[in-house]
């Protein structure tokens, strides 16, 4: 390490002999700079504090004494960053007391004994440099951990989407369905009064959970899932089990229980086919017995199903979709939910125009 890298040792003393003695003691270890009075020393320190590894400060000096320099450094909160040593011939009790209470590192009496002053100053400088190095290391590790956490979150979301998309693929749909459900759910909760009691993080967690609403379809046989025509009563009963199966599947993965989206995902998977009038399935919940998020995903699912082509039907035109939802042809919804939905439907319809290449 060169002297420059070790840092600059600043000697502030009005006596040239003193400066020369101290310089001789430390020149082999540090780059040395000098100031001949307190005011000049303070100016040097304030100009570029992080360049300095330590300051050796005389007490009795013209143009600002050592104690006043200490007081100014204390005001700038620099005494915790730079070790300052008082070098003094007259260490009166009062001076010592004030110096230590201001935060001086050590008081060394003049005339100095070289090997003693060298040892004391050097070990403190090493301590400060180790501490600086350590805090730099901690800072960079903290940044790395933060970056890793972000990557893990992105990876989580990617895996959730992959799983949901794999299931959608079985019903010959693309992954766009789950992504749209995510976006519609998020828009309804963050852009309308529906989400007024939810924090932005909770809305993110619910939107992520909405992706898994149909995860139980993995337990429904292909013959029923992909049947082009109408389902028989028995087939429909099997189809309905995807709600309970989905909740059970999520429940069986212990790692998921700790995930902040978990409780929403289970609720949404089980209850996204409940109806406001109590005539839905699997539990026949009614009105506010159905959680807000299950209601929101339920409407998003219906809106998306009507707006797109499915194995059992073609896409309906937008006017017809809105008419069917308003008239309750595809289920009965909470009137407040519908009001909020129509408030932003114009914007939501953009999701489908883009796909059809109409924009």
């Amino acid at each position: 390490m060169s002297n420059e890298e070790r840092g600059v040792l600043l000697i502030v003393d009005d006596d040239a002999i003193n400066r020369a003695v101290l310089e001789e003691i430390f020149a082999a270890d540090y780059a040395i700079e000098e100031a001949e009075n307190g005011a000049a020393g303070l100016e040097k320190i304030l100009a570029e504090p992080d360049r300095l590894c330590a300051v050796l400060l005389d007490v009795v000096m013209p143009a600002m004494d050592g104690l006043e320099v200490l007081r100014r450094l204390r005001r700038e909160d620099l005494l915790r960053r730079i070790p300052v040593f008082l070098i003094t011939a007259e260490a009166g009790d009062q001076v010592l007391q004030e110096a230590y209470s201001l935060g001086v590192m050590d008081v060394i009496s003049k005339p100095v004994v070289p090997y003693l002053v060298r040892r004391r100053v050097r070990s403190v400088i090493e301590l400060f440099q180790a501490r600086r190095q350590l805090s730099r290391t901690v800072e960079s590790q903290r940044e790395r951990l933060l970056r890793q956490a972000e990557e893990i979150i992105a990876l989580n979301q990617g895996m959730v989407e992959t799983l949901a998309t794999a299931i959608e693929f079985r019903s010959e749909e693309s992954g766009d369905h789950v992504r749209r459900i995510h976006d519609i759910t998020k828009s309804l909760l963050s852009e309308t009064a529906l989400g007024k009691d939810l924090a932005p993080e909770e809305i993110e967690e619910i939107a992520l959970a909405s992706i898994l609403h149909d995860v139980g379809k993995i337990a429904v046989p292909d013959a029923i899932l992909n049947k082009p025509g109408r389902l028989t009563a028995e087939e429909f009963e099997v189809m309905k089990t995807h709600t309970v199966q989905g909740a059970a599947l999520l429940d069986r993965i212990p790692q998921l229980h700790r995930h902040r989206s978990y409780r929403y995902a289970v609720d949404i998977a089980r209850h996204h086919h409940e109806r406001w009038d109590g005539r839905g399935y699997p539990d026949g919940l009614k009105g506010d017995e159905i959680s807000l998020w299950a209601q929101v995903v339920s409407l998003a699912d219906v809106y998306d199903a009507l707006s797109c082509k499915r194995v059992y039907k073609d896409a309906f035109p937008r006017e017809r979709v809105l008419e069917m939802i308003r008239n309750g042809e595809c289920g009965v919804f909470n009137p407040e939910l519908l009001r909020c939905f129509f408030e932003i439907e114009e914007e939501l319809s953009g999701l489908y125009q883009k796909e059809a290449g109409l924009v």
């Binding site: 006596d15 002999i17 020369a20 003695v21 001789e24 011939a89 007259e90 005339p111 100095v112 070289p114």
Partner: protein
């Protein structure tokens, strides 16, 4: 530094071994600092302030002398100036002046030794 020079300086009241230790054995530096001691205006400032009757200025000058003598291991002068600074800070101008009776010959012995005329200094 020749043994002759060392004897000369010691005769002037300078603990050469200790002074050399303080400058990490750098003999040239010690000679340079001894030269600075000769050039320092504070001794005359001290005398003038005492004559004027200005204890504050006298104490400031004596303080600087004390520091230099300490660094250069002028043991006796360091002891004398330390006492004088305390006396003058206490405001006792008369006692401060009286101490010059001891300080002046010691100072002259030291400066003569540094200039290389220790024998004239009357060691």
């Amino acid at each position: 530094m020749t043994s002759e020079r060392i004897r000369q300086l010691e005769a002037g009241g300078i603990d050469v071994a200790q002074a050399l230790e303080r400058v990490m054995g750098n003999e040239a530096l010690l000679e340079r600092l001894l030269g600075k001691f000769l050039d320092a205006p504070q001794y005359h400032a001290l005398c003038a302030a005492l004559e004027r009757g200005d204890p504050e200025q006298a104490a400031a000058a004596a303080h600087t002398m004390k520091g230099m003598c300490g660094n250069l291991s002028m043991t006796e002068l360091f002891r004398l100036f330390t006492m004088q600074v305390e006396t003058l800070r206490g405001g006792d101008l008369v006692a401060g002046r009286e101490m010059m009776a001891q300080i002046t010959p010691a100072y002259e012995r030291a400066t003569a030794a540094i200039r290389g005329r220790a024998e004239d200094g009357g060691a």
